[in-house]
């Protein structure tokens, strides 16, 4: 009898121990499934952001959450033209060197503090320290607060690239309170405080990030256009769920666990289209798929070998493998999208040549003797792996020896930093506001691939220093022609973004990426 009691006691003790453990992650405010009386929007994101500190990272998922909380001094309208956001207007001096930004009156941060020119200056200085584009374009500038409500940026030379850099959404120049920045030092900010339509509430690791409607939000004047104009929080809370498994995102959307889901697999398109509770959207322009050559060392330091590969590429074949159906891709040579004012035709003839004979000829001329080409890629992003497989086949058909090395994404990121380890990797590029922001063109960005062409750098500078759009666009025509001539990167094609919501979600807009302001759940 006694022994049985001991056994029972042990079991009870164990259960108690574990029940205590369960209490560890309690959160009374977490939304319950099916609680439809709440005016909340539940979004399934594809990955966990490294941080929401937008100055610090180029990760897309940081921007997807961050721009609901933070705002930019200037931003872009639906034509990708730079317009004021926190600034009331943009005044440019006649010599094109001084930019004055009077701030809109009466704006407050989420912590109740007034927005002043000091906050803007501190934010822009911090952003310039970390952002590649910020350093490249704004480095020679002086950024000062003329008075409490006016920020002045002075440049030694005129630049058409300054405003687009300030408006560039990814790793964007968002405005935070000065104290928060001072407190952060070299690290990440400890509190996510901005002026946006939503304020940060909580980040439950591996579950969700919650933002709530900011009651004191003051929208910029004018109707919504691109990222500018009217922004209104129509829901009380947004829960950004972090759902890495694509099948779970699809199922969660169909069952109503999520109201909206991003980064859906294109092969679920037909299923979701038939679902009476779901609206599907194909969003563009979103990104383009490219292969990057290691131009610093190895085979492809030789421009002729790069041209040979470019001659062989059948873009249609790659994009079909990547996207499945034609609804999700578009063949286009442009480094900017045709929806943008910058779009030009130069270099078009070098795109999608499908000419293996020419490729073989160029390889022979370049003296290629079967040295191995190393493609590093990852299955973490389906499109990378699929395009790498097609690429391997294409290269083998023109007589190249190819090693395809498949790793997880962090390994690819770390390997690509070493020019001895790879010849080619695949990645995607998002919409740029101004084409000199393209990472792989400017040698001074020192981005993986290390394309270094003094001629290109000079053309980019010419473009940035052009006094007007017309001349800048002329310079860009030369940039794009030189790009297709020297092919540091081969663009395969444009890939659209597949997004879906429940039928009751209204107004979720896509511009550069997804915005959930002006979005309601009824």
């Amino acid at each position: 009898m006694k022994r049985k009691n001991t056994l029972a006691a042990l079991v009870i003790a164990l259960v108690l121990l574990f029940t205590v453990g369960c209490g560890g992650s309690s959160n009374p405010s977490a939304p319950a499934a099916g609680a439809k009386d709440k005016n909340d929007l539940k979004v399934a994101l594809t990955a966990t952001p490294p941080t929401i500190d937008m100055h610090k990272t180029t990760a897309t998922v940081t921007q997807q959450v961050g721009w609901h909380i933070f705002e930019y001094l200037v931003t872009v309208d639906d034509k990708y033209q730079v317009v004021p956001s926190l600034a009331e207007k943009i005044e440019i001096s006649s010599d094109g060197k001084t930019f004055t930004f009077p701030l809109r009156k009466g704006l407050k941060f989420h912590n109740g503090k007034d927005l002043t020119a000091d906050d803007v200056v501190a934010s822009l200085l911090r952003w310039r320290k970390y952002s590649t584009i910020g350093r490249a374009v704004v480095a020679p500038a002086t950024i000062t607060a003329k008075d409490k409500d006016t920020v002045v940026i002075t440049l030694p030379k005129p630049s058409s690239a300054l405003l687009p850099a300030l408006a560039y959404p990814s790793q964007g120049a968002v405005i935070m309170p000065k104290e928060i920045i001072d407190e952060a030092g070299d690290g990440n900010v400890k509190k996510f405080i901005g002026t946006g339509p939503f304020e940060f509430v909580e980040w439950k690791q591996n579950q969700y990030i919650q933002v709530k409607k900011y009651a004191g939000y003051k929208s910029a004047p004018g109707p919504t256009s691109g990222l500018s104009g009217k922004k209104e929080a129509l829901v009380d809370n947004i829960f950004f769920y972090l759902v890495p498994d694509p099948a779970t995102r699809v199922a969660g959307l169909q069952s109503g666990e999520y109201d909206a889901a991003e980064g859906l697999p294109t092969d679920s398109y037909e299923t979701l289209k038939k679902d009476p509770n779901v609206n599907v959207q194909i969003n563009k322009p979103s990104s383009y798929v490219s292969m990057i050559f290691n131009t610093k060392s190895g085979l492809f330091a030789d421009v002729k070998k790069r041209q040979a590969v470019n001659a062989a590429i059948d873009s249609e074949m790659v994009m079909k493998a990547v996207a499945g159906t034609p609804e999700f891709y578009e063949l286009n040579h442009g480094l900017v999208f045709k929806e943008q004012v910058w779009y030009v035709d130069s270099g078009k003839e070098k795109y999608n040549q499908k000419n293996p004979e020419l490729a073989k000829k160029l390889l022979a001329e370049a003296g290629y003797k079967g040295e191995p080409v190393t493609i590093i890629t990852s299955r973490d992003y389906d499109y990378m792996y699929k395009s790498a497989v097609v690429l391997k086949d294409t290269l083998e058909k023109i007589g190249m020896t190819v090693n395809l090395e498949v790793y997880d994404w962090p390994t690819v990121l770390s390997k690509r930093g070493n020019d001895k380890l790879w010849s080619i990797f695949i990645t995607g590029f998002l919409v740029t506001v101004e084409p000199s922001q393209t990472l792989y063109l400017d040698s001074r960005f020192k981005w993986a691939g290390w394309y270094n062409s003094p001629k290109m750098d000079a053309l980019l500078d010419e473009m940035r220093e052009s006094p007007n759009m017309e001349q800048a666009k002329k310079a860009f025509e030369k940039v794009q022609a030189l790009y297709w001539e020297e092919v540091p990167v081969i663009k395969f094609g444009n890939m659209h973004q597949f997004f879906a919501t429940r039928k009751n979600v209204k107004g979720a807009q896509f511009f550069c990426d997804k915005q959930y302001w002006n979005t309601s759940v009824k």
């Binding site: 022994r3 049985k4 056994l7 042990l10 164990l14 259960v15 574990f18 453990g21 369960c22 209490g23 560890g24 992650s25 309690s26 959160n27 977490a30 319950a32 499934a33 099916g34 966990t48 490294p50 941080t51 610090k56 990272t57 180029t58 990760a59 897309t60 940081t62 970390y130 590649t132 790793q171 990440n188 690791q205 591996n206 579950q207 769920y241 972090l242 759902v243 890495p244 498994d245 099948a247 779970t248 199922a251 969660g252 169909q254 069952s255 109503g256 666990e257 790793y407 997880d408 994404w409 962090p410 390994t411 990121l413 770390s414 390997k415 930093g417 990645t427 960005f445 020192k446 981005w447």
Partner: protein, 315 residues
């Protein structure tokens, strides 16, 4: 007995030392760079190098190990560079879902598997036995994530009875808590249950061949009393071992199931941390799993004594 427990706990130390070293070395030999993950794919080499230095990632590996070990010996598992919290806090926050899921899966497994195994053994060779064991074989062979995905399709997408994924803590109500956990628990429990059922059957069959069972039958005891009073208890030690092992495996985080059902448990924590090369968290979580594994086995060993008085642990 106290001496035995103490001895077993001391045995833990060399085990943990080996785990710590192997764990650290494997993780750091894996290519991959947390700095690149933090800064995103568009970061430049210069920024990456700067951050690596800031995080201490450019130090020689033995110095990194020494620093980490010194911390662990002082009860400090380190700091997560991504979550910006201590590793102990991160593990603690992710422990609740895993423990709930484990307990529920194990309860389901035992409740289904024990009767199944007993009935199969009692009807050895009949169609009942064969069909039960076929079921068990299926249960072992079908991956739990596949079962999980089918459950989601059926119960969440088609019938809309249960949420497709996610987690609600116990503090939000038991019903809510269970609603989110039942599908993953069943899909995990099927596999564990299948193991337990097979072990119950074979262990019981062995005992049923013993002489004392024949004696009991000769005495005219009922089949029920023979099986449950005389046979099962004697057959229970191997069953308990299997239960203990499955429990220990689950506590380490059901990696795939937690991912499919998006449950923020230890398994998910480990996967996310591996994907981001959040070294301190991976090391801490694996160390914690090793400790749990050893402790659970200790508890199981202690239970042997309670079930079978012939077992003497102190020898």
């Amino acid at each position: 007995m106290a001496k035995y427990i103490l001895k077993r706990i001391l045995y833990l130390l060399p085990v943990l030392a080996v785990v710590a070293v192997v764990d650290f070395v494997i993780i750091h030999l894996t290519p991959g760079d947390p700095a690149a993950v933090i800064l995103g794919s568009d970061a430049t080499d210069m920024d990456l190098a700067k951050l690596r230095e800031q995080l201490g990632l450019n130090l020689p590996i033995y110095i990194q190990f020494g620093r980490w070990l010194w911390g662990v010996l002082h009860g400090d598992l380190g700091w997560s560079i991504f979550m910006d919290m201590s590793v102990s806090t991160a593990i603690w926050e992710h422990l609740g879902p895993t423990v709930s899921l484990t307990l529920l899966a194990e309860v389901i497994a035992i409740v289904v598997a024990l009767p199944l195994g007993v009935v199969a053994a009692a009807n050895r060779g009949t169609w009942i036995d064969q069909s039960f064991m076929t079921l068990a074989l299926l249960g072992i062979s079908i991956p739990s994530f596949w079962i999980g995905l089918n459950f989601i399709l059926l119960f969440a997408v088609q019938l809309n009875w249960l949420p497709a994924a996610g987690y609600q803590p116990l503090s939000n109500g038991l019903v809510n808590h269970l609603k989110y956990l039942i599908m993953p628990a069943v899909s995990l429990g099927i596999m564990q249950g299948a193991l337990i059922a097979r072990m119950t059957r074979s262990s019981l069959l062995e005992v049923l061949n013993e002489n004392y069972i024949r004696t009991a039958e000769a005495k005219g005891l009922s089949r029920f009393v023979i099986i449950f009073k005389h046979a099962l208890r004697n057959a229970f030690i191997p069953i308990l071992t299997v239960i203990g092992l499955t429990f220990a495996v689950l506590i380490g985080g059901a990696v795939v199931t937690e991912t499919v059902f998006n449950i923020p448990g230890i398994g998910k924590l480990i996967v996310t941390s591996v994907m981001r090369r959040d070294y301190a968290v991976i090391q801490g979580a694996i160390l914690m799993t090793a400790v749990a594994y050893v402790l659970i086995n200790l508890v199981i060993d202690l239970m042997y004594v309670l079930i079978d008085p012939r077992v003497r642990l102190s020898k």
